[in-house]
Subunit: 341 residues, 3 copies
């Protein structure tokens, strides 16, 4: 599909520019050429416009005059650019290809237009809806359901009768539906508790590379609509994550934790099991949530504290040795004082 | 296999209940129906019994009278329930299936009753014992040995001539036997040290999804009997983990660390290389073990300390800014004092 | 190939020993037999020599007389041993094998001497150079380029048109080129930003098991020559890592971070996005780099500080409760003082 700047402006519901031009794709300000679109997210970055060769740039209103080529004006330039990029570089649609080396159980139900690349395995009882794309080596276990438009990256594993909604994107190497870590100590050894629940994943969820989501022990693990999970996140059994919550890479969420809607969890943060986090909570990177959070806000640190409190105490931590020495000095003075009659 | 409550009580060596009934499976208290078994782990959770529709509930003795249907009495209800669940929901036994797309080297030795699902690869010199089940896309490298009853999840990789004991469960996407991180700095670049050891895994070990266990550099990496490794754990080369130790998700154990028996390591904890941890040590989540631990007990924090000490100091950390201001005030008083003749 | 001690000494450019002998391989001091080579890295470990049955031992000059068999003398014994081990245990060379179950696109270009094991997939537009070895189940996506001598472990995924230089070693289960975590919050939900960049990997890079490297959003993610990445590292989109930097397991590097040359990053350390770290910076395990580091040196902790400062403050942290009590006592004294007229 061929795009012009004016067609794009119309599609994005932006003001039509004075000049038109052809657009082949998007690029960064530094790399873009005359048939490419770029963007500046904030007015403060406006000086980067001077050198760009981009044929068109999406900018906030304040930068309108500083674009050397054609400007498109948007209140939220990054969001407008995201939409533009999706139009100029659409995902290749599913075409119903079935690689020769794909192993599809005759007891699976696969939409005729779904793409199954080389080495994919689809086991008995699986349902693959319309428009699904499975990259090479994807493994879809017994009874798994993939909603319309799901895209699963190479080598990802979906098992444990998991059910994914529409348009879920799974990155390579992710594992959805593995056995949870359910053991009970008994008579000097660990006794395994069979893991009989499933994973329910809502619509428009992103599951990052190497991320693992365990199936529930008895009830299910639940990932809400629009949830974003970056790479290498661990989600324990029976965790529930509310809609539109975003979790950064390497975070770990222990079993039965419940996380609200629209939360953000920073990279490598830890959340212990069996606690609750309400909606609109934000956790900074490498913090440890060791108890329930019942009030919206931003929290940080180990031990966890409201972010402002943590910042003040962390600043003092860097003075701790000096404080200890000041304290010793005062004690010597006080000792002297005491000796004074 | 069909179960009744009385047959189950007999199998678990629990007191026979007054009434009998059919059992189809297990479920949580909230979800269970009249032909399902549930449990209450502790007396404190007894109020949850009031609403359950479960046909049978395993409870501690104190709750005997509060079960609305049939009660089974156990001193350790969770352990009894785990055993019951394993009886009511047994693993499907291996049946000797060989998927058409499984690639099995003629130089491999595979028990006739082992199951090899679609896309599995078994290389030359591998030994697959009786009752082994390989899920789709499992990769078994040259010379690897799997003991009787091992179950390997989809897409897991076992390589480096690793040797797994009996009944080891490997979750999807785990990697056992990859090359360790062995490099030496020499003349301005890193020089690779060939990694020639193996991984020895005992009996009844659990290896979580995405967990990686490196093979030894010269000698072997050793995982003891009954060890539990949750998801996304990293185990460096030449680590030794004692029997029945359990490690929670996202923990990292650097090369040549030695961990004792019956330890528990919390989620995302770190253990540096070349140190020793004795038996019966417990490490809390996100702690960093930076030196050997020679006494049993519970430890926490960065820097690591006995747990009680850590709790006291961590509580004070949240007062640190206030302490600094109090210290400043005292200094002003002391300064004033000093000026007083 | 058969080796003698003298031939090996010549190959390593070490002084020829008085006696010669046959060598079959390398082993640890404890395990080595009369036809095996071992080493002692430092003079301090010399006492371990007494019991060894190794036929030859590489030692520093000070230990020359203490080797019970044949000594090879090296200033840097570990480096000499690494070179010796690579000679005695060379990688099996590529032989041009193509497994029956490998799925190779007719639009891919594969060197005739490259090895493709069972279950490998090579998609259209991929270039596989001479001497490449792909272990079972490796997935090479559209347009990916692998330089000469690359070795890719079982089940690893290389996608997103990534380009790897010469002799890159990828461990099992690694993912190179997955979609970055690019989203912008807009109107109550996350909007996906298409990820259009690539991953460029230099020569002689090591990529550990389960490590994930995201492709760039617009420009590329860049891994310099000789970089070492241990297992389960997360590298976000548009990260740039300078040559010969080594990163330990479980570290996480957020998007657009720039790391200099010859740095070392400790295990499970975190590096936030959009910051810069200059050359020759060392970060200790489990530290969080939350701002740019513009001066070479060693840094530690959360919050990050120069290492010496961190050590002093961390030692005081373990006295914090005692400090608080001492402070309270001083306040009581001062309060008493104030009351004194």
């Amino acid at each position: 599909m061929s795009w012009t700047i004016r067609r794009l402006a119309a599609a994005l519901e932006l003001e039509a520019p004075a000049r038109d031009g052809k657009l082949r794709g998007v690029a960064s300000l530094e790399a873009a050429g005359p048939e490419e679109l770029s963007f500046v997210a904030r007015t403060a970055y406006g000086e980067r416009l001077a050198q760009t060769a981009a044929g068109c740039v999406i900018v906030p209103p304040e930068l309108r005059e500083r674009v050397p080529s054609v400007a498109l004006i948007a209140e939220r330039p990054h969001a407008a650019f995201a939409r533009a990029a999706a139009l100029l570089h659409p995902d290749a649609p599913a075409r119903g290809t079935r690689a020769e080396t794909a192993a599809i159980s005759p007891q699976a139900e696969v939409a005729t237009d779904a793409d199954l690349a080389s080495g994919c395995v689809v086991e008995a009882g699986a349902h693959i809806a319309s428009g699904v794309v499975l990259d090479p080596g994807v493994l879809i276990g017994e009874g798994v359901e993939l909603g319309p438009g799901c895209r699963v990256g190479a080598g990802a594993v979906i098992t444990g009768r998991s059910r994914l909604g529409a348009r879920v994107r799974v990155q390579p190497g992710a594992v959805v539906g593995g056995e949870g870590f359910g053991y009970v100590w008994d008579d000097g050894a660990w006794l395994r508790v069979p893991q009989l629940g499933r994973v329910w994943v809502g619509d428009d969820v992103q599951i990052g590379a190497g991320t693992t989501i365990d199936r529930g022990a008895l009830d299910d693990t639940v990932i809400g609509d629009g949830v974003l999970l970056d790479n290498q996140i661990q989600v324990g059994h029976n965790v529930r994550i509310g809609a539109h919550t975003a979790i950064a890479g390497c975070a770990g969420i222990a079993g039965s934790a419940v996380i609200g809607r629209r939360c953000t969890i920073g990279g490598a943060a830890g959340i212990v099991g069996h606690i609750e986090i309400v909606d609109d909570v934000h956790i900074t990177a490498m913090s440890l949530v060791s108890h329930s959070i019942l009030e919206a806000g931003t929290y940080a640190g180990v031990p966890l504290a409201p972010h402002g409190e943590w910042l003040r105490n962390a600043a003092r931590f860097r003075q701790l040795d000096a404080m200890a020495r000041r304290l010793g000095k005062l004690e010597r003075i006080a000792g002297g004082n005491k000796e004074q009659p």
